[in-house]
Each structure stands twice: as structure tokens, then as C-alpha cells.
């Protein structure tokens, strides 16, 4: 038997640990990116009148950006439970598409429990990174990928809630742009490399702007706008730019 302290070399990491570590490494930038965004969420929620622990609870149980921002705004506005639930559901419907897309790349043999657990960690960013970085997604990779962002999302919210009163208003407003800036940083590099992707983004942006600004259509909520724009843009993409290599 070896005494761990004096063993001549570290025992080799198991494949499970290696996959977890790879995922954790890929998730680390997402975690850092989440801190200012969730910080802004904590600020806004506490500024609106929620206790910091409730804001943190929302982040740890919802783990979404747009959905929980909208839901929290409605809570603060005193909306009905039905309205809060329905609006959040509509905004989160896009996860159906992401989850469906991710399900195509899962390694074979994942159990029900593994699938249920990793599904909780699907966000726009973890989805985008996992789909772009991996040909086949294993459970430990996904677990590693979502650990950092989950902790970052919760910690940022708590910190934002706690320091809410300390930050000047204009700094709070400036932080409002971080989420969108991060989205831009995610889409621009692949758009530069692919004409199809840039055209699809253009269609999505065009439709979401039209739905936001044209008279009559403005009645749609933001969640509907995003869902409609996504579906139309992806139909356009699938029709005019079908992918040649069929993923395995």
C-alpha cells in the first residue's frame, strides 16, 4: 500500500476526472463573464425591493438571464403568478431548441439522472460552448462546464445584492450592457468565419427589431420576439444553407 504523501508521482487522473477538468476549464471564462451580469441582476433586484437572499435564490434555482430578469421585474411590479409564470416560460422556450440541439451530441449511455442533472445547467453560453467545443458531450464534461458558471452566477448575484446601495446609479446603468456585450463577443467571431451564420444573425436581428418597432407588432413580449425571430432565422438557414456534413 502506498502512503499518498510520499508516493513518487501523482496517481493518473481517471478519464472521468480528465473530462470534468476539461469542462471546468471551458466553463471558467463563462463563470467570469457571469459575475458582472449576475452582479447587475442582484443590484436591480435589491434596488427594486427584494432581499439579497431572495435574489440569490432566484439565480440558484432559475440559472437564466432573460427569463429571471423578466420574471423578477414582474414580481417587483406586483404581477399575478400566472403572468409571471407564463412570461418566464415563453422566454425560456428557446431552451427547448437548445436542449434538443444538445441532445443530438450527447455521448451514448447517459443515465436518466445524469441527463436530468446536466439539463439544469444548459444556458445560452454553456450550450454555445459545449456545442462548439465538443463533437460528443460526456456527462463529466458537462458537469465540469456548468460548475463554474453556476457558482459565478450565484456569487455575483449575492455580491450585487449586498453592495447595491454602495454603487452610484450611473455605474449600475453601465453594468446593464455587460450581458449584451458578452453575447456580441460570442457571435461575432463565428459570424466572421461563416457567411451563413452572419446572414442568419442578420435575419434574426432584423425580425426581432421589426417585432419590437413596427406598429401593431409591438404588443408581443420580448420572449415571443426572441422565439419567433429564432425560428424564422433558423428556417431560413436550414433552407438556404443546409449543413453538408451530417453530425454523427
Amino acid at each position: 500500500m502506498q502512503i499518498p504523501f510520499f508516493s513518487p508521482r501523482k496517481p493518473a487522473a481517471t478519464p472521468y476526472q480528465q473530462e470534468f477538468f476539461l469542462g471546468f476549464r471551458d466553463g471558467f471564462p463563462i463563470a467570469l463573464g457571469y459575475i458582472p451580469v449576475s452582479f447587475a441582476f442582484g443590484l436591480l433586484a435589491v434596488k427594486g425591493g427584494l432581499p439579497a437572499w431572495v435574489a440569490t435564490l432566484i439565480s440558484l434555482t432559475n440559472l437564466t438571464s432573460a427569463g429571471q430578469f423578466a420574471g423578477t421585474n414582474l414580481i417587483l411590479a406586483g404581477a399575478s403568478l400566472l403572468e409571471i409564470t407564463f412570461t418566464t416560460l415563453i422566454i425560456n422556450l428557446r431552451y427547448l431548441l437548445m436542449s434538443l440541439s444538445l441532445a443530438q451530441k450527447l455521448a451514448p449511455g447517459l443515465t436518466f439522472r445524469e441527463r436530468s442533472l446536466m439539463a439544469f445547467g444548459i444556458t445560452d453560453e454553456t450550450f454555445a460552448v459545449a456545442s462548439v467545443a465538443r463533437a460528443e458531450i460526456s456527462f463529466p464534461y458537462m458537469l465540469g462546464l456548468i460548475t463554474g458558471p453556476y457558482l459565478g452566477w450565484g456569487t455575483g448575484t449575492l455580491l450585487g445584492g449586498l453592495v447595491c446601495t454602495l454603487l452610484p446609479a450611473n455605474l449600475q446603468e453601465a453594468l446593464g450592457i455587460t450581458l449584451y456585450a458578452m453575447f456580441i463577443a460570442l457571435v461575432v467571431p463565428p459570424a466572421k468565419k461563416s457567411r451563413a451564420i452572419s446572414l442568419i444573425i442578420a435575419v434574426a436581428v432584423g425580425i426581432s427589431s421589426a417585432l419590437a418597432w413596427l406598429p401593431g407588432l409591438r404588443l408581443l413580449s420580448e420572449g415571443w420576439r426572441i422565439t419567433i425571430a429564432t425560428i424564422v432565422a433558423c428556417l431560413f438557414g436550414a433552407a438556404f444553407f443546409p449543413r453538408k456534413e451530417v453530425s454523427k
Partner: protein, 101 residues
């Protein structure tokens, strides 16, 4: 407070269901190239639709939001990291509001 906690629980439920249902119940791979292509383009379309025009209303006034938007586009075009892009966009908004707002 009870109503707020109930609202949080309902929000959590409707955030989880759309994520878990396809992963758990749709185990067969999709064969159709059309639908495969559709799903492949989803992340890009979602990000585009979520960003614009919402970004214009993210900071309280459109002028400073445009400044942040421009900075983010430029830095993203130079392929800077997520955090760099996010923080410089926020810094740009802050400075613009501080000096010109």
C-alpha cells in the same frame, strides 16, 4: 413574501422543464439534414435576437447604449475574450454618461 417565493418556485419550474424534457425524452438522433441544420443555427439566432434591439435599452439612454454597442462590436470583431468585451463596453458607457450624459 410567500407569494414571492411561490413565484420563484414557478419560475424555476418553467426554466427547468424546457431544458430537461428534450434531453431526457428525445434519445433518438435526428436524421433529417434540414432539422439538423436548423438546430445547428439555433445558438447564433438566439444570441442575435436577444441582443438587438434590447441592447439599445440596456443602459437607461440610447446614446450611451450605442457607444457600448459600438465598442462591443469592435472588440468582438478583434476576437477579444468575453470578459474584455463586456468590461470595456461597460467602461465606455460609464465614461460617456459621466462626461457627456
Amino acid at each position: 413574501m410567500a407569494k414571492i417565493l411561490l413565484a420563484v418556485a414557478l419560475m424555476a419550474l418553467v426554466s427547468y422543464l424546457p431544458r430537461v424534457l428534450p434531453v431526457v425524452f428525445l434519445r433518438k438522433k435526428i436524421k433529417s439534414p434540414f432539422f439538423q441544420s436548423f438546430l445547428y443555427y439555433v445558438p447564433y439566432a438566439v444570441l442575435g435576437a436577444m441582443t438587438f434591439p434590447a441592447i439599445l435599452y440596456a443602459t437607461g439612454d440610447t446614446a450611451s447604449a450605442l457607444v457600448g454597442f459600438t465598442i462591443a462590436l469592435f472588440l468582438a470583431f478583434c476576437e477579444k475574450g468575453l470578459i474584455t468585451v463586456a468590461l470595456f463596453a461597460a467602461l465606455g458607457v460609464y465614461l460617456f454618461q459621466f462626461f457627456l450624459g
